[in-house]
């Protein structure tokens, strides 16, 4: 008998708890119009500026997404991120001795052409 009363009470309690939520503000974000605020630490599309070509980023990248070409003077001629491979781990940014790599807040990178995902920065700059 006690058990029946307990379960009935909990049934009613449960229903009231759910009912309470009917009057609460919705917690969802209406995505394309509104977006979440992103912090500076966010790891989005990577960018490079001022690369000296030391090669550390290339050696710490887990997926081999980074590649660069040096010219005869030892300056970086072109620097590419292959976003097809990139897993946005941020290793390159963290280990770069020059703080040349930064990760932007851009995360909507979907595209229908694979070549769009290969980011090329000329001479360490875009």
């Amino acid at each position: 008998m006690k058990k029946i009363i307990r379960s009935l009470v909990s049934l009613i309690e449960g229903h009231l708890t759910v009912f309470k939520h009917l009057f609460m503000k919705s917690v969802t974000v209406q995505y394309p119009e509104k977006r979440r605020e992103l912090n500076d630490a966010f790891r989005g599309k990577p960018q490079v500026a001022g690369c000296i070509g030391c090669g550390i980023c290339k050696s710490v990248c887990p997926s081999g997404a980074i590649n660069y070409i040096k010219d005869e003077n030892g300056n970086v001629r072109s620097y590419t991120f292959d976003l097809n491979k990139c897993i946005f781990c941020g290793n390159c940014k963290y280990y770069c001795p020059q703080q040349a790599i930064s990760m932007t807040k851009e995360y909507e990178l979907a595209t229908d052409r694979k070549s769009d995902l290969i980011l090329e920065y000329r001479g360490g700059k875009e």
């Binding site: 229903h15 919705s26 969802t28």
Partner: protein
């Protein structure tokens, strides 16, 4: 309805249309009306359910297609219409195609029995409560056909669950309906509605002498409708989609449609036999109070009666959705045990109580 019938016949006689044609069309037209209204009601119900489930969980529900998402279900229906109808390779083609059509027939018929207002019942037979109870259990047949013919183990299990579920919940329903028949001394839904009339409004409703019966009926109807917490035949987490796993496109839409129309019909039925149907909860009708005894008031009263009926069934549907938002699903064996061990004895006791009550209040004559 007789009043409408004569009006209609008079109207046809003016244009020299043969009487037999009138007799036939008089019963076809209502069904067209029902079918049309049904579509609109189901669209509203689906939207309401999704919206409410959204609000219960602090989401917004569909809000993209049309203002406030009103066109969302329409868009979904349209999508289903243009989708391909896939038939599984080893399915029993005839039964597979028949099932979604069959599921819809009892639904439309059932809605014709409901007295929407004092003068508005399409099919008013003297024992239509029995007709209702029988027809309301019919969709399970096509569910079984669907599950059997799709040649899918999940569908088969869903169909088997559905059959056992309806078999065990049909008896409590019958006993509760019997107790209502005893209370009202009538087997006609209009008669039952009128038997609940009292000048004090809701004091006459059958829910008060028969509160246990209401609870039993409510639970059984949840089970018959395959609604949560009794949604075993289509338990998503176990049987993927149950009996309609293999259905796609329009055929799936028919199952979906019939499910929600059955929800609507059963909520109407519940409000008729327990909550006074189209009667106003205040005793007098608002249109009489506002417009006095004018011609307008006697015309408006029919609409008001329909409004009350729909309001009551709306509340019932809200509670059903609320329950869906809260409760987990029962296990299949517990479900059947619950019916035979708890509901059936309770409904028999309820029937006995109602007979005693009726005797004591002097209605035995």
């Amino acid at each position: 309805m007789n009043y409408l019938y004569f009006l209609y016949m008079d109207f046809l006689a003016k244009y020299n249309v043969p009487k037999i044609l009138g007799n036939i069309t008089f019963y076809i037209i209502p069904f067209c009306i029902i079918a049309a209204v049904l579509l609109v009601v189901v669209l509203i119900l689906v939207l309401a359910e999704r919206k409410l489930l959204g609000y219960f969980t602090q989401r917004k529900g569909p809000n993209r297609v049309g203002y406030w998402g009103v066109l969302q279900t329409l868009a979904d229906a349209f999508k289903l219409l243009i989708k391909e109808n896939i038939t599984p390779g080893k399915a029993d083609r005839f039964l597979y195609n028949l099932a979604p059509i069959l599921v819809f027939v009892p639904v439309v018929t059932v809605l014709g029995i409901i007295p929407y207002s004092g003068e508005f019942t399409f099919v008013n037979t003297s024992t239509n409560i029995i007709l209702y109870v029988v027809l309301a259990a019919f969709p399970v047949l096509s569910i079984f056909l669907a599950g059997w013919s799709s040649n899918n183990k999940y569908s088969l299990l869903g169909a088997a669950r559905s059959i056992s579920q309806v078999l065990s919940y049909e008896l409590p329903i019958t006993f509760v309906v019997l107790s209502i028949v005893v209370l009202a001394s009538s087997m006609n839904l209009s008669g039952i509605t009128l038997a609940q009339y009292s000048s004090k409004g809701l004091a006459g409703w059958f829910i008060f002498p028969c509160i246990a019966g209401f609870c039993i009926m409510f639970i059984s109807i949840l089970a018959e409708l395959n609604r949560c917490p009794f949604d075993l035949p289509e338990a998503e987490s176990e049987l993927i989609c149950g009996y309609n796993t293999e259905y796609s496109g329009m055929r799936f839409a028919l199952f979906y449609l019939s499910e929600y129309s059955m929800l609507f019909a059963n909520s109407l039925f519940l409000s008729i036999i327990f909550l006074g149907g189209y009667l106003s909860p205040f005793g007098g009708y608002l249109s009489h109070i506002i417009f006095g005894d004018s011609q307008l008031a006697s015309f408006l009263v029919y609409f008001e009666q329909t409004f009350w009926l729909f309001l009551k069934s709306g509340i019932i549907i809200f509670v059903i959705i609320w329950i869906r938002a809260t409760l987990p699903r029962l296990a299949s064996y517990d479900l059947i045990k619950f019916s035979w061990v708890v509901l059936l004895p309770a409904s028999i006791i309820n029937l006995l109580w109602v007979i005693v009550y009726k005797y004591l209040t002097g209605g035995a004559a």
